[in-house]
């Protein structure tokens, strides 16, 4: 590989990692505060639709990003109402959210594009640094900058201590004055906003249009990334880069060598998932989730 090839590979990896970083950062905070949100996939998808529709209609990718954020926020609000407000099982609510987002985005997109015949083409995010094969958008850069911020917030501030205590022993946190459900609601909404940004990064950062179920399991990979990264923002970043790198490499190998190697393409498409599973199997025994993960809290 030449220097230029390495650079473009790195750029592409970071760009592909951005949606995963947004979603897994949100989930790190969620799980740390005691909420397991399986609905990441749905939240990402809502972000994709919001970003594409508004960017295409207004011609402004910036407004598209804002719309993606808002769409993710709305989806997370539904999650918060049922999982926190009504104390329903978080895995069930998250699974339902995925159904809802998949159906809703499919129905609305097809409805808004005359039966899917007039695909919306959105303007892609402009490059902030570099150009061509090495272009990095502001949204990708923001994802990278959020990681140290999140790490600091979670481990170096009083807020972070309260947040983590809430996910480990909510009763103790409540006794110390934390408003458990308010904190959890706030974090859930923030996760929605982050996933909305992630959806925008996918839909108008990497591509320029919407297709049904276009997230292709990225939300689930983000869940695995959180475990693999041991519930830390830094760990999540590394894991996200690893999986995005595998994804990019997979696409390259498929485009370049698969005929000469005689390896059918499904094998390549399975690589990220197999890798995630192997990674979990290897890390497995050492991982320890927050103690109160998934347990609803009733304000006393």
């Amino acid at each position: 590989m030449t220097g230029a090839e390495v650079l473009s590979f790195a750029t592409l990896t970071v760009t592909y990692a951005a949606p995963l970083i947004y979603a897994s950062l949100g989930e790190v905070f969620s799980e740390r505060v005691g909420i397991i949100n399986i609905g990441l996939e749905g939240l990402l998808l809502l972000g994709c639709l919001g970003a594409v529709v508004v960017a295409a209609r207004t011609g402004s990718p910036f407004l598209g990003v804002l719309a993606g954020l808002a769409a993710g926020l709305l989806g997370a609000a539904v999650f918060a109402i049922f999982a926190i407000g009504m104390r329903r099982d978080q895995v069930i609510v998250g699974t339902t959210l995925n159904f809802l987002a998949l159906g809703l985005t499919g129905v609305l997109y097809r409805g808004w594009t005359a039966g899917g015949t007039a695909a919306l083409t959105a303007p892609t995010l402009p490059a902030l640094v570099g150009n061509g094969a090495t272009a990095i958008s502001a949204l990708t850069l923001l994802a990278l900058l959020l990681v140290p911020l999140a790490q600091w917030l979670l481990f170096r501030t009083r807020f972070g201590v309260t947040l983590r205590a809430t996910g480990e022993v909510p009763a103790a946190a409540a006794a110390a004055g934390a408003r458990v459900n308010r904190l959890r609601t706030g974090v859930t909404l923030a996760t929605g906003a982050l996933c909305g940004l992630g959806g925008a990064a996918l839909a108008i950062g990497i591509g320029n249009t919407f297709t049904e179920a276009m997230t292709a399991g990225r939300g689930f990979i983000a869940l695995a990334i959180v475990v693999f990264g041991r519930w830390t923002p830094g760990g999540a970043l590394l894991a996200a880069l690893l999986f995005a790198g595998a994804d990019v490499a997979q696409a390259r190998l498929q485009a370049a060598d698969w005929i000469t190697l005689k390896i059918p393409y499904p094998v390549f498409l399975a690589i990220p998932y197999v890798l995630t599973l192997l990674a979990l199997a290897i890390r497995g025994a050492k991982v320890k989730a927050p103690a109160a993960l998934g347990q609803p809290w009733q304000q006393g």
Binding site: T96, F99, G103, G106, V107, A174, P264, V267, L280
Partner: protein, 355 residues
């Protein structure tokens, strides 16, 4: 009367939640620029419009019933197996191997179905190993295994299982002897529907009246309680994973031997995912799964007709229906609990202790 009275009291509340859900769905369809009534009409015609449509509803219900049962068994023992889709696909692959083989006819069909169940259980066993030996949550592993199974299927129909002619990415059709009998002339309704209902009753009996089923339920109620009762948790969890995977694998085999006959990429339109909704709607009760499977079968059969009859409305509207039905159920459950709490004058003792 004692038991029916309280149930009846909740009916108005349930109707309210269902009504609310319908309003939400209507609003979403309006937002997409279509008429909710036209969608409802197309749904009805697609599900119950003719003998053929009713048969179609039943055909759709069969894989949902079997996978729904699998998910329900897992949920009852607090195993969040959401990998029914992958287990179903692997089951279909195994059944294709057997169904296209040169084995003698009398054992061909039973062997195809059994191999499907075994393959499904094997696929689920991967998640069981990861959970029990490595502490990996099955919510993650089963989901990832779904994606891997989809690619495995794509590989199989382009490689080892591809049709002899080699034109398309699909398998050869399974032999006549491997096909389930058709029940009603001029429809595609097959014997799998009877098998599925019989299995649902069997699972109900197993969970309710046998020691093994009791162990599953106690483990589901909480591992410490099970240990206190002398039930060994790990073997019980293994059983939950394997039974659940076997039922989903069988669903794939039945779908192949009863309806599709040959394997290709689009083999399952997401039966294994809908199965989660089926199990949840039934509260993971095996007999309830029968009803909820037919309900979702009707919606799925109707969904196809929506896309044909109402221009501009995607068949994924079915997913919205599923999600809103589940949300209404969750909300109703919350409302019931809340009313219950309000009636009680003493504070909840366990919670008081926590605080």
């Amino acid at each position: 009367m004692n038991r029916i009275g309280p149930v009846l009291r909740h009916v108005p509340g349930l109707l309210l939640w269902i009504g609310g859900g319908l309003c939400v769905i209507a609003l979403i369809i309006r937002l997409a620029g279509a008429s909710p009534l036209a969608v409802a009409d197309a749904l009805w015609v697609g599900a119950f419009g003719s003998k053929y449509n009713v048969a179609d509803t039943c055909i759709q219900a069969v894989p949902l019933l079997l996978t729904g049962l699998g998910v329900a068994i897992a949920f009852r023992s607090q195993v969040f197996n959401i990998g029914a889709e992958g287990q179903l696909l692997v089951g279909a692959m195994a059944a294709t191997c057997v169904g296209t083989s040169a084995l003698p006819a009398p054992i061909l069909l039973p062997l195809a179905l059994i191999s499907g169940a075994v393959a499904g259980a094997g696929w689920s066993a991967i998640a069981a190993c990861l959970r029990l030996w490595r502490g990996v949550p099955e919510v993650l592993s089963t989901l990832l295994l779904n994606f891997i199974a989809i690619q495995l299927l794509a590989f199989m129909v382009r490689g080892p299982l591809q049709e002899a002619r080699g034109d398309y990415p699909q398998s050869d059709a399974i032999r006549i002897g491997a096909r389930l009998a058709l029940l009603v002339p001029q429809t595609r309704l097959h014997g799998g529907v009877i098998l599925a209902i019989v299995l649902a009753v069997t699972v109900w009996f197993y969970l309710r009246f046998t020691a093994g089923g009791f162990a599953l339920r106690v483990v589901g109620a909480g591992a410490p309680a099970a240990e206190a009762a002398g039930i060994r948790v790990a073997p019980t969890l293994w059983k939950a994973f394997l039974l659940s995977g076997a039922l989903s694998g069988l669903a794939g085999a039945v779908q192949l031997c009863g309806v599709i006959y040959r394997l290709s990429d689009g083999f399952s339109p997401g039966y294994g995912y809908t199965a989660i909704a089926v199990a949840l709607l039934a509260g993971s009760a095996p007999l309830g799964v029968i009803i909820s499977a037919f309900f979702f079968g009707a919606i799925t059969a109707g969904g196809a007709s929506i896309q044909q009859r109402v221009p501009g409305v995607s068949s994924v509207v079915v997913q919205v229906l599923q999600a809103v039905a589940l949300l209404a159920l969750l909300g109703w459950g919350w409302a019931r609990e809340n009313r219950f709490l309000q009636r009680r004058t003493t504070p909840d003792s366990t919670r008081a202790e926590d605080v």
